[in-house]
């Protein structure tokens, strides 16, 4: 059995209100996987639909402020299939956001968080 690296995808996500880093990380992952499609899994590597879960290995790395607050399981739920794993590290951007008083009262913080996601897709072949 050989493990082959098929694609690396990069994306960024933003949460404008509330400093929700899990949501930000989810958006980064969504952004990374949304702009591309991998027909080659079927046409070039001969995977069938049922094999996607078993044969695909997906590694997610997130860089975000407050890495400890990220709920990894929720972030991975964005990815539809594969054997998934996640690594969260300190990074991204925390920057002062809106000065609208109402927004600050509603969400408790004026900060904007930005997270980066890198997704590496491998497949197992015989």
């Amino acid at each position: 059995m050989v493990i082959k690296k098929i694609v690396i995808e990069v994306g960024s996500g933003i949460d404008m209100y509330g400093e929700d880093v899990t949501k930000t990380a989810q958006r980064a992952v969504k952004n990374a996987i949304s702009g591309a499609s991998l027909p080659g899994l079927v046409t070039c590597y001969g995977l069938t639909k049922d094999q996607f879960n078993e044969k695909m290995i997906i590694e997610v790395t997130i860089a975000t402020p407050y890495p400890d607050r990220v709920n990894g399981e929720e972030v991975l739920s964005i990815i539809p299939f594969g054997q998934k794993s996640i690594k969260v590290q300190e990074g991204g951007i925390l920057t002062p956001g809106t000065s609208i008083k109402l927004a600050n009262e509603l969400y408790g913080t004026p900060n904007i968080v930005v997270a980066i996601a890198v997704i590496t897709v491998y497949i197992e072949t015989d």
């Binding site: 694609v7 690396i8 702009g35 991998l38 070039c44």
Partner: protein, 131 residues
């Protein structure tokens, strides 16, 4: 002689959007769309599939098929847009689509006859000859 795409295997598809705010230049918008499509991901599997040798040359045929949708498809300069893709056998199809919307005319940056904002979309497909 490179085969037609119908005879090859489609390996990868990626999408992007490009905007030109000043000058109403569809070629520029299209080039940016292609740039965005290819900038955020790296199809590393191609090294193995196209059997790329130590010199970086694929030993199997690879075709990069670009479709660009913009408001003025006839004005897109295919050669200029394809320069964005660093290597490979490339071809471009320009179709009508994208978006044109009223822009903000700035005397310093715009020509009076070209005040609109142009948005182009790009789809970049990679085909490999596996036979």
């Amino acid at each position: 002689m490179v085969k037609k795409k119908e005879e090859m295997k489609k390996f990868f598809t990626e999408f992007g959007m490009g905007v030109d705010l000043h000058g109403q230049d569809v070629t520029k918008a299209a080039a940016r769309a292609v740039k965005e499509a290819i900038s955020w991901r790296s199809p590393t599997g191609i090294v193995d599939l196209a059997n790329i040798n130590d010199k970086g040359e694929p030993t199997r045929d690879v075709l990069i098929d670009v479709i660009v949708a913009s408001p003025y498809p006839d004005e897109v300069n295919a050669e200029e847009v394809l320069k964005v893709i660093p290597y490979g056998n490339k071809q471009l199809t320009s179709i009508k689509g994208g978006l044109k919307t009223k822009g903000m005319y700035l005397e310093r940056m715009d020509k009076p006859e070209a005040p609109d904002y142009i948005i182009a979309l790009a789809c970049v497909e990679i085909y490999i000859d596996l036979d």
